[in-house]
């Protein structure tokens, strides 16, 4: 173990599905207490990227290092045990189950055979309070929460279960402006508690305020890693949208408005 090494490092990761290149030579890293944003349009390879990190797929080429040691995950459980928690776009929540059951799902505290419900409810409430989330009633089904609240339950859960690296898959994509702001706040809260956060999004306006470094994916390839200082917001937006392509599109749209 090397204490200077970043928390999680990806070196030249590639993933092929048969003859389809989903990901090619992607390199990035995240340090403790930092947010690395991975930006990409639809089809850029974001999903493959996440699944590779989360242990759903093994990379075809390249290495993953955690704190300097090479690791390989054969299942989501492996990645979880290593401290990589993934919060998926579809929320990884069971809508008809209560908040506290969802919070502890898969890792229920037990007393003998039975679940220690009292401890579970109290812990869930307290842990979410620590993240600044006020869920009044941990008995209510997750399905009754708003999208932002659900994301925050998932984030609080990952933090509580000792995640070192938190991977967020488009947590703001389905949310309104205000709700997105709430989720961004929780991302900061998780960062401040010393986690490395990988924030995957296609929205540069969400990424820029919280990110410390940025990696842009396009057609399965990395378009480079940037620290926040090297990259003004406008440049990020341009790169994200494919730069020249956006200029072209802007032009087309402007000319189309004549009618």
């Amino acid at each position: 173990m090397n204490s200077d090494a970043p928390l999680l490092e990806l070196d030249q990761i590639s993933k092929y599905y048969g003859n389809i290149i989903a990901l090619k030579d992607v390199t990035t890293s995240v340090a403790a207490g930092e947010v690395t944003c991975v930006l990409g349009d639809n089809g850029a390879g974001k999903s493959t990227f996440i699944k590779t990190l989360a242990g759903v797929h093994q990379p075809s080429e390249g290495t993953i290092r955690m704190q300097g040691d090479e690791v390989s995950f054969t299942s989501p459980r492996d990645a979880l045990d290593a401290g990589i928690a993934t919060v998926y776009q579809d929320l990884a929540m069971v809508p008809l189950m209560s908040v506290w059951r969802n919070f502890f799902l898969g890792s229920e505290p037990t007393k003998g055979l039975r679940i220690d419900k009292k401890a579970a409810k109290e812990t869930a409430k307290a842990e979410m309070a620590k993240m600044g989330i006020d869920i009044r009633d941990t008995e209510q089904p997750v399905g009754t929460l708003s999208g932002g609240e659900r994301q925050s339950v998932a984030i609080a859960r990952a933090v509580y279960f000792g995640a070192k690296v938190l991977i967020l898959d488009e947590p703001t994509s389905a949310l309104g402006v205000k709700q997105s702001g709430v989720v961004l706040k929780y991302i900061i809260a998780a960062r401040d508690r010393g986690l490395g956060v990988i924030f995957i999004t296609h929205n540069p306006h969400h990424a820029y305020p919280v990110g410390d470094r940025f990696m842009i994916l396009n057609r399965g390839r990395s378009m480079g890693n940037f620290a926040k200082e090297e990259l003004p917001r406008d440049e990020l937006v341009r790169m994200m949208a494919g730069g020249a392509e956006l200029d072209q599109l802007t032009h087309e749209l402007e000319t189309a408005r004549i009618d």
Binding site: Y88, A92, A129, K130
Partner: protein
């Protein structure tokens, strides 16, 4: 039960806010008592069961007897063990079409293993080995079902359909090989049959068990249970006060004492005049107790106001009472002694009963809706409108008393209806004088729910006393013998264990999770494939248990035993409120569903209907259950989705 740990500055206390300012959390909409109760699927199933029981009780002379009750309980037992297991599998999001055939297959397998090797096939191994051996086979088949479903990713519907046909073939093949018949017998060829028989086929002859104090226990438990349910509804309904009012407690205890004395007197005395006086005494005591209880615990209404019946309200009350009167008049007008068919398939009495019940029920519903609306006017109005429900019920009771041909209506049904009328009057008093809770109070909800469960259990225990024991008077009156068997005990035991497992264990949580959102469950580390496989093995275990029970009950088993019953298990589960798509339901609901399925089997023949109608009835029940479950859940969840 206040929450002391969440004292963090950012969190507000969850439990009840100060009574003076109850606005709780604006994000949590208050749900009415009925919404809170009916969101539990087994509640509506239980009401359905009571309804079906009442229908058969009314149309047949023998359905309510102990013998017939044992009859449908016995059918419900083997159906129910499977229905509970299948409910859990369905909550986990899968089906098992092989479950029916599996019960028969396990029975035949056991007999095949124990059968004397003498002339044809069979292995001649004692039951002590045959039972674990067959269990291993059952669990193996269950494992195979789960493994195939998980490995192939095909719907369990198809995989288990294949298992179903394989088992059918196996049953026939084994039977033919062993005895060259499509019937396999017999269990009692096993050398240690006598040792195992008590565990799986012990019978309870009711007439051999005299217990003179039976009715004391029966009455005590049933009344205790009903009282607990009423008090629990109060707890769910009203707003607790800040400091308890000791005067109310004294009144509650005093009233209870009077009512208890009344019940004891009722047991001891005879004669109509005395009965009426004592019934009045019990009513007064009970009402005083109810009012005292409310005074002790709940916040009184500040300003009762004066009665205001606006035109709309007057119309509702008038319509309700009018319908009750019309329904009663129709019942009076049609001759209660005429028998015979009016037009197919209705008899005169059937039509009379349907008109009476239907019109009066519509009237009572209108009154209930008016009562619901009345609270928004003021407390005095609420009292008058709710009291009119009591009046309506009293009219119904009077009609039943005056115009029924059958003593069971004039006696039993009349008493029950009158008691309901008295209770409704008590409710009118209490609900208009105490504040309805309009905010979420988890502690009160939890307590109320627990007390309701305790009440239901107490009623069940009371019924059990009545069913299991006889008294000297009954024997002297020549009551026919009735017997039940240990199968019912297995049913109760299995259901209890599964209800507990589902509510309290990791496995239970995971069952809901894999049925609700399998991918999500997998991603947070729930062993989804293993959980589902274990569920298939649980169903196989249940089939093994039922297979043993069949083998011990009928001694020789037809090769097609159990085939097709898998659909009845699924129906029972759905009737019990389990969602076909998984993730929602209860084990207890499956048990109630099994009772609902079993009652018509006995009821149809005891009502002397042609038993060919049985499947029609089952179909109608399923359809009604699905529609009403959906309707009730949507209403109950109202704000949920």
């Amino acid at each position: 039960m206040s929450d002391t740990t969440a004292s963090d500055s950012t969190s507000t206390t969850e439990e009840r806010p100060a009574a003076a300012a109850p606005p709780a959390d604006e994000r949590l909409a208050y749900r009415s008592v009925f919404q809170r109760l009916f969101v539990r699927p087994e509640v509506s199933a239980m009401i359905g069961a009571i309804g079906i029981w009442t229908v058969f009780w009314a149309v047949s002379n023998t359905f309510g007897t102990v013998g017939q009750t044992f009859g449908w309980l016995d059918i419900a037992a083997s159906l129910g063990i499977m229905a509970v297991a299948v409910s859990m599998l369905m909550i986990g999001g899968e089906f098992d079409l092989s479950s029916g055939a599996m019960t028969g297959a396990m029975g035949i397998l056991i007999i095949y293993i124990v059968k004397d090797t003498g002339e044809l096939g069979g292995l001649g191994i004692p039951l002590a080995l045959a039972l674990p051996l067959s269990l291993a086979v059952a669990l193996g088949i269950g494992y195979l079902n789960g493994f195939m479903v998980e490995r192939t990713g095909q719907p369990s519907f198809i995989i288990t359909l294949a298992t179903f046909f394989a088992l059918r073939g196996l049953k026939l093949g084994l039977s033919k090989r062993a005895v060259d018949q499509i019937q396999m017998g017999t269990t009692d060829e096993a050398s240690d049959y006598d040792f195992f028989r008590p565990f799986f086929a012990a019978e309870w002859q009711r007439n051999d068990h005299q217990f003179e104090a039976r009715d004391v226990f029966y009455t005590a438990f049933v009344l205790l249970g009903l009282a607990l349910i009423v008090l629990a509804v109060c707890e769910l309904w009203f707003q607790r006060r800040d400091t308890l009012e000791p005067g109310g407690l004294a009144q509650f205890l005093g009233g209870t004492a009077v009512a208890v004395v009344g019940v004891i007197l009722l047991h001891a005395t005879d004669g109509v005049g005395a009965n009426v006086a004592i019934a009045a005494l019990i009513s007064v005591g009970g009402l005083a107790a109810l009012h005292g209880f409310a005074r002790w615990r709940y916040e009184p209404v500040a300003e009762p106001g004066t009665m205001q019946l606006d035109p709309a309200m007057r119309r509702r009350v008038g319509l309700g009472l009018g319908l009750v009167v019309v329904g009663s008049a129709i019942a009076m007008l049609i001759d209660s002694s005429s028998d015979g068919e009016l037009f197919f398939p209705f008899t005169t009495q059937g039509v009379r009963a349907m008109l009476f019940v239907g019109i009066c029920a519509a009237g009572m519903t209108a009154l209930a809706m008016a009562s619901q609306k009345a609270l928004s006017v003021n407390a005095a109005t609420k009292f008058v409108v709710t009291a009119s429900m009591a009046l309506g019920m009293a009219i119904v009771a009077a009609t039943v008393f005056l115009d029924s041909a059958d003593t069971k209506f004039r006696g039993g049904l009349f008493s029950v209806l009158l008691a309901i009328a008295v209770l409704l009057f008590g409710w009118a008093v209490v609900s208009s004088r105490f504040t309805e809770r309009r905010f979420v109070d988890r502690a009160a909800d939890r307590l109320g729910n627990r007390v309701i469960i305790a009440g239901v259990v107490a009623v069940g225990i009371g019924m059990a006393f009545r069913l299991l024991f006889t008294v000297e008077d009954e024997i002297l009156a020549g009551i026919p013998p009735a017997k039940t068997s240990i199968r019912v005990f297995w049913f109760v035991l299995f259901t209890s264990v599964m209800v507990w497992v589902l509510a309290n264990t990791k496995f239970g949580s995971w069952v809901f999770a894999v049925g609700g959102n399998k991918e999500a469950a997998r991603q947070v580390g729930v062993p989804a494939a293993r959980t589902k496989t274990q569920l298939f093995m649980l169903v196989a275990f249940a089939a093994w248990l039922v297979g043993i029970l069949i083998a011990f009950r009928i001694n020789s088993i037809q090769a097609n035993t159990g085939d097709g019953e898998e659909f009845e298990y699924i129906i029972a589960a759905v009737v019990g409120g389990t969602l076909l798509t998984g993730g929602y339901g209860t084990a207890f609901g499956g048990a109630i569903g099994a009772c609902i399925m079993a009652m018509p089997l006995i009821g149809i023949s005891s009502a002397r209907w042609n038993s060919d109608w049985r499947f029609l009835l089952l179909g109608v029940i399923l359809l009604l259950a699905v529609v009403s479950n959906r309707f009730i859940r949507l209403r109950a969840e109202g704000i949920r989705r």
